[in-house]
Symmetry: C2
Subunit: 498 residues, 2 copies
Amino acid sequence: MALAVDWELRLQLEGTSHDPMYRRVAQAIAVDIRCGRLPAGTVLPGTRRLAQTLGIHRNTALAAYRELAGEGFIDTRPGLGTFVVERQGTDEPTPLTAARHRVPRTAPYRLRTPSGALIRRRPHPPGTLVLSHLPAPSEVPGVALARAYRGALRRRADDVLDYAQRYDSGAPFGHPRLRRALAQMLARTRGLMATAEDVLVTTGSQMALYLVALALVEPGDVIAVEGLGYRPVWEAFRFAGAVVVPVGVDREGLCVEELRALTERTAVRAVYVTPHHQHPTGVTLTPPRRRALLELATAHDMAVIEDDYDCQFEYGGRTIRPLASIDPQGRVIYVGSLSKVLAPGLRIGYAVAPNSVLELMAERRCFIDRQGDHALACAVAEMIENGELRRHIGRLHATYRSRRDALAEALQSRLGGAIDFDVPEGGTAVWARVDTGIDVDRWHARAIEHGVVFEPGSSFSLSPGASAHARFGFAGLSVPQLQEAVRRLALALASAEG
Amino acid sequence: MALAVDWELRLQLEGTSHDPMYRRVAQAIAVDIRCGRLPAGTVLPGTRRLAQTLGIHRNTALAAYRELAGEGFIDTRPGLGTFVVERQGTDEPTPLTAARHRVPRTAPYRLRTPSGALIRRRPHPPGTLVLSHLPAPSEVPGVALARAYRGALRRRADDVLDYAQRYDSGAPFGHPRLRRALAQMLARTRGLMATAEDVLVTTGSQMALYLVALALVEPGDVIAVEGLGYRPVWEAFRFAGAVVVPVGVDREGLCVEELRALTERTAVRAVYVTPHHQHPTGVTLTPPRRRALLELATAHDMAVIEDDYDCQFEYGGRTIRPLASIDPQGRVIYVGSLSKVLAPGLRIGYAVAPNSVLELMAERRCFIDRQGDHALACAVAEMIENGELRRHIGRLHATYRSRRDALAEALQSRLGGAIDFDVPEGGTAVWARVDTGIDVDRWHARAIEHGVVFEPGSSFSLSPGASAHARFGFAGLSVPQLQEAVRRLALALASAEG
């Protein structure tokens, strides 16, 4: 005997007015069945009553029930009427129950306007030679990394996977194995007496710098930066509430006297420097400037954020030690990354600083993404421990040196009249002064048309406006490619000038 | 002929007063030599003059020079005096030049006080059974993931490594291959009609929720949340400037009428819900409540943040579709993660929302860490595309179902008098009401001593104070381990009560 259930007919019609009514009614009923509002066994009203209640034609109601029966949602038996069937199987959406709407492009509520910082760039056409300071895919130690990653995942020992599993209180600092490996690496290569406890592992140096700013800055605090630098870092500082103020850079690095003058006008919370190879000019902050900077920082109670960008590739043979290694007070926060020696896409950065700073950074990291990828961390630690990373850097080093030489020669030969540069002692790019009669941005645009990309100086300047400089990276191209790239640069220049 | 250079004797003594003076003087000179302040060939003052200038004993000066000569920094020749030697070789720190100071524990400048959110927990002793809702290491599909990762790194095709290399304007959204794979997965399993363009990949759902809050919230905006929930998410909302206000949860999920009352008292910017399996109670937001919530959100122009936490494990056979799939306006921001099906340490989360929201989220992501790990993204995409992930979920599903049954039986049998619970229809934990005469927090502490860990209800409550609830996860332990865990819980309870 059938039970006639008093089913409250309140259907929310799906679809749009372009869809046939029978289909919209069928969908609405299917949705209610699927979400449990109409459980299996529920007796549905007859087509006449359905049509009456909904204000539709009886044929429409019939067609709706036919659709539902066809997809196995309902069944009709003599004497029982039409009832909801028990559905077995998966939750695969059926044509009726799949959401009929796409995700709209705009949300209905108010939103702030995008800042436009996310520059949508069309991809370069195939065959474009990019004079990048970053390694090319062929440089990534993929085989070694994959092997180390597999090893990290396979080790059943708690210290790899179990740690990777649990939201541990130490997790925001990074996996202890990688913290330890990085500390040892930094002691060996940069003379920093750090232990694992002094290291925080982050998703690239970008995150490390963002966390540093979050830890140090009250809204409106001033962070002084080199006037030529890396825009995404300034944005992170601003995003953390800081006011970013540029200080000049000359052939000895940051102009400390200019910074001194700034400190006499306003309180400066921190100064951000790239003292090993200034980004992008490549100059090394000289020893007198280093002492003066640390003395000034002490006198005005400033933090010093040292980004040891690009410390792995040194061609001259003599490496200068980082500020952090001559800083017994703990005023320097040391930041670095493995982006240049692994791949920028692999996101391993680190900070070395007094624990009171790391603690604040880790707290904030917890809110942001809780922790990094610990399997990758163990894989990278493996590569540091077994010397694989050092060997890889050694090979890269030799490769980069010859590329540097080839690029310098080609630039001198084909563009010697238009540009002027010092052959860099380290790093992976040439920073060149461009003849003031040349419009660098126009050259840059014309170069893209000619199939070569370089970085115009204006992209590194905190102050807006044109710049009479250009950067040509050599990490991403082979020697023949570099020669071809310079040939195209020369063509593009002639075309821009003509 | 020797040149006597007028060397400004301004040494910064290294080390501490515990180190012998001759050593501190030697170190200071070595540092100046190493950092280039005293270049090769510089003639140093004689020991008498050095002693006089520094105010030390002449023997001390002699000992200092002996130390420096011993390490090859200086040399003495008759008629030439003592001079700095050209040093060959690496930058390996020598005993003299290695930074003599460790990284201090505290920074010298002012810092705000840590919030204490980073709870330092001592690791549990080996053998402790943790009733976790997260998969154990043995559950992680390590072999498949390692294979997919190797495949992702080896493919020379630009779409994997090259993309991973460049800071591309699309990079903050995640690798397009994973965006596409996730969109297809969500269409298939959750009925969301999303395409790759509608998906943003993040470092876990934590980052997705943090970015959502950053995109939506002006300081002081209210986000309404379920009064029982996940603390790190509330902290992320607060950190983004929101005021977090709790709304009650009952057996039908979020109390929408209570939310309605709130909207009459104050403007509410967004409401955060876990409608599929409420975290932690496990209840599903009923269909009438779902409609009411969406209607209320429309009436008050609120955003709805749907965290589809725990949607992959359903034992009852009937899955309810997400709010986002019945939301043609685009009011719902849908967030999920693969933490429960891969490993929480592998950090793959995602958001599906109108592009105007994703754009704001991606902009902020850019400042925070620029992009995620694209090699991992491709590996995970591979596992989605080749069905490996689905097979893995299927295996887990069967495992979890039997673990659920075993845990429920053991709890009923040994603790039936003290606790009361519904066998969960989905997810990986049992949410139990505890007899009000029992102090749950004391039971929790005693349980740790007995070698078993569960989650007391108080850890999920936005309002402080004790809670008469407990959560027992079953994802991380085998059936025998679960039975043993419950045995220990019973012992601990008896001990806590006695």
